[in-house]
Amino acid sequence: MKINVLCLYYDIMNLYGDTGNIKVLTYHFDEQNIKYNIDYLSIDDTIDFSKYDLVLIGSGNENNRFICLNHLLKYKKDIKDAINNGTFFLVTGNAISMFGEKLYDKDALGIFKFKVEEAKERISKEVILENKIVSPIYGFFNHQDIMYGNDNLLFKDEGILYKNFYGTFTLGPLLSRNPEFLEYFLKKLIKHKDKNFKFKKINTDLNVKAYNQFIEFKKTKVFNSHKK
C-alpha cells in the first residue's frame, strides 16, 4: 500500500502553519510503516486529482486565495469526481470557502451549495468546537468569511463533512492539537485504502497531554484575568 498525498498551494495557502498537518501525517505513516508520496503543487502546475488519496489545502490571504480559486476553477469537474469517488480532502482555514457556489462576488467551485460573504469584522478567536465524532476540537479562527446555506456541518455550527471531504475554518495544526480527531482521520484514511490494515499503537501520548494541559491552563488563565 502506498498513500498518495497532494499538498496543494503549499506555498501561498500556508498562512497559519497549515502545512503542519503534513508533518503530522507523515510521522504517523512512518510509524505505521506505510509508504507514501507527497506532491507539493501550486499555481504553475497541472493537477491530476484522480492520482491522490488525500488532498490538503490551508489558509491564505485574500489575494492569494482568489489566485488559487482562479487556478482551481478549471478543475471543477475533476474535484467533484474525486470527492464522489472517495478521495480524502483536509481543508483548513478560509480555503473551505472556495468550495461553495459564491465567494464574495465571484463564482466559486460550486461543489457545495453554500455561499460566502465577506464579514464586516475579522473573525479571529480561539474556538472549542463540539461535534458528534470526537472530543471537542480546540483550534483557532482567523478569517473574514460568513457562510450561508451550508448543511453538511463537520463540527457544531461549522465546517464541511461530505463523504471523505473534511473542511473546517479551524486553521493550522488541527491534527496535532486534537489527538482523537487525528486518530479518527488517520484510521479512516488508511482503512479506506486497506480494510484489513493492522494498526500499531498510534503514538499520541504527548498530544493527549498537550490537549489536557491546554484545557486546564485555560481554566486558570480565565480565572486569573477575572481576578485582575
Binding site: Y16, D18, T19, K23, P173, Q213
Partner: protein, 440 residues
C-alpha cells in the same frame, strides 16, 4: 486654548515622570480635550519614523543616540509609547507652549497599525520600514494586510528606507515616486545556497506571482533573489549601503567597521537601517561607525556567558513571531558542536486571552533534528505543545525534557551536556538567567 492644553499636558507628563510611568497617558489625556491635538504641533524638518514587525525599537534607539552624540537635540519615544498617544506624549515633552517642537530632530518608533493615522499629520521626512513578517496573527491578520495598512499613511514626499534583501518589503517600492534608499548584506560565510526554511512572508514574486530564484539566502526569504519568469524584471534592487563582511560581532560597511551589540543577523539589519538614515542625513561616516560601536561597547552583555565551563547563549524571541524563532534556529544550526536547547515562555500574548499556536508550525524546528543535541528542555504552560511540535520535527522523544517552569528544570540542566542555547520568549529571559545564577 492650545496653550492651556499643552501646559496641562506638560504638567501631566511631568507628574507621570515622577511616578515613573506613562509613556501614553499624557497623550491620551490631552486627546480627551482636543482630538486633533497632533495637528497643533510644529515639527522640525527632520522627522524620522521607524516601523515594521520587529527591529523598530533598536533601529530608533541607534538613530536617536547617534544624532545626540553628534550634538543634535533629539526628541524620541524612548519610553516606548509607539501608538498615537505615545507620539503625542513625546512631542508634548519637547515643545514650547505654542506647540513648536524645540529639537533639531524627531525620531519615532511607530506601531504598524497607527502609521495611517499619524503620518498624514506629522508628515515625516524619512520612513524606515524594517520588515513585515508574520507577527501576532490574531491582531495583525497577515503580512499583506499590514503592508496595505502602512501604505495608507505614506505619501510621495517621504524618503523610504528598505531592506534590499527582502522581496516582500519591495511592495513599498512598487508604482511609487518616493525617494528610496536600499540597504542589504552581501554574500557572507553564513549565507547558504539551498533553502533551509519555508518562504513564509514572500513565497512568490510580488509582481507576477512566479517562483523566485536565489543565488544565496541569509535567512528565511532574505537573500539575493530574482524572479524565475524571464519576462519579469523583479530582483534584489541595487544596494546603496551594503555590509560586505561580518565576523566577531563586527560588520564592515563602506570600508569602516561597526561593533554590534550581539552577533544575531537581525542586529546587522537594524544597524544597517539606522546607518543608512544617518548617512543620508549627510553625517560623517567614520563618526557614525565610531558612535554606533561606542553605544554597543558600553552595553553589558546578558546574552552570552559561561556556566561551569559551558557556553550559554540566551536568545531573545517573540511568541507569535516565527521569524524571531527562526533566527534562533539558524543561530544554533551554525554551531556544529554538542548542545542542549531550552525553549519556553510564560505567556504567548500579553494583549489577549487567546493562545494561538499555529506559528509553532512556521518555526523550522526541523533544523534541530540533524544537530548534535544532548537534550531539549521545554518549559512553561504550553510545554506539551512545544514537545508535540518537536516530535513532529523528528526529534527523539527521549531527548525532550518537559518541565512546568525553568526552576523545575534545574536538575536536567545540570545533567545536560554541551553548550546551552536558551531560545526564549522575552518574558522568560530573567527567569532563565536567575536559574543559571543558582546553578553556578
Amino acid at each position: 486654548m492650545k496653550y492651556i492644553l499643552i501646559l496641562m499636558g506638560k504638567i501631566v507628563a511631568f507628574l507621570c515622570k515622577l511616578i515613573g510611568r506613562g509613556s501614553n497617558f499624557p497623550g491620551e489625556f490631552v486627546s480627551i480635550f482636543d482630538k486633533n491635538i497632533l495637528k497643533k504641533f510644529r515639527l522640525p524638518k527632520k522627522v524620522i519614523v521607524v516601523t515594521g514587525s520587529s527591529g523598530k525599537g533598536s533601529t530608533t534607539r541607534i538613530i536617536a543616540n547617534v544624532y545626540k552624540m553628534f550634538g543634535f537635540k533629539v526628541a524620541y519615544n524612548k519610553e516606548g509609547g509607539n501608538q498615537t498617544a505615545g507620539v503625542i506624549t513625546t512631542l508634548l515633552k519637547n515643545c514650547t507652549l505654542g506647540g513648536k517642537v524645540k529639537t533639531d530632530v524627531v525620531v519615532l518608533e511607530m506601531d504598524e497599525r497607527y502609521i495611517k493615522y499619524v503620518l498624514p499629520i506629522i508628515n515625516p521626512s524619512d520612513v524606515v520600514i524594517t520588515n513585515i513578517t508574520r507577527d501576532q496573527p490574531p491582531r495583525q491578520r497577515h503580512t499583506d494586510f499590514i503592508t496595505s495598512e502602512i501604505k495608507k499613511g505614506l505619501s510621495e514626499n517621504m524618503h523610504l528606507y528598505l531592506n534590499a534583501d527582502d522581496p516582500g518589503i519591495q511592495k513599498f517600492a512598487l508604482n511609487v515616486k518616493n525617494k528610496i534608499t536600499y540597504y542589504g548584506i552581501s554574500k557572507l560565510k553564513t549565507s547558504y545556497k539551498n533553502n533551509l526554511f519555508v518562504a513564509l512572508n514572500s513565497p512568490r514574486c510580488i509582481k507576477c506571482h512566479s517562483k523566485l530564484n536565489y543565488d544565496f539566502y541569509h535567512i528565511e526569504d532574505l537573500g539575493n533573489f530574482k524572479c524565475s519568469n524571464d519576462k519579469c524584471d523583479f530582483k534584489t534592487p541595487k544596494k546603496d549601503y551594503e555590509v560586505t563582511d561580518f565576523k566577531d560581532k563586527t560588520i564592515t560597511i563602506e570600508k569602516n567597521k561597526i561593533i554590534l551589540e550581539n552577533d544575531m543577523l537581525y542586529n546587522i539589519y537594524n544597524t544597517l537601517a539606522a546607518y543608512s538614515v544617518l548617512r543620508e542625513a549627510g553625517l560623517d561616516k567614520n563618526k557614525i561607525c565610531e558612535y554606533i560601536s561606542n553605544l554597543n561597547k558600553d552595553k553589558k552583555i546578558f546574552n552570552r556567558y559561561t556556566l561551569n565551563d559551558r557556553e550559554v547563549f540566551v536568545l531573545n524571541n517573540k511568541c507569535e513571531n516565527s521569524s524571531t524563532y527562526n533566527q534562533s534556529m539558524l543561530y544554533t544550526y551554525n554551531d556544529k558542536g554538542k548542545k542542549t536547547i531550552v525553549i519556553g515562555w510564560q505567556e504567548i500574548s500579553r494583549r489577549y486571552l487567546w493562545d494561538e499556536l499555529s506559528w509553532l508550525y512556521d518555526v523550522q524546528f526541523e533544523l534541530l533534528s540533524d544537530q548534535d543535541i544532548d537534550s531539549i528542555i521545554v518549559a512553561g504552560p504550553q510545554r506539551y505543545d512545544i514537545a508535540v511540535r518537536l516530535k513532529y520535527a523528528k526529534i527523539d522523544e527521549k531527548k525532550i525534557k518537559i518541565h512546568n517552569d525553568l526552576y523545575d528544570a534545574k536538575e536536567d540542566l545540570l545533567k545536560s551536556k554541551g553548550s546551552i542555547y536558551a531560545i526564549l520568549n522575552f518574558d522568560y529571559v530573567n527567569d532563565f538567567n536567575r536559574v543559571m545564577e543558582d546553578l553556578k
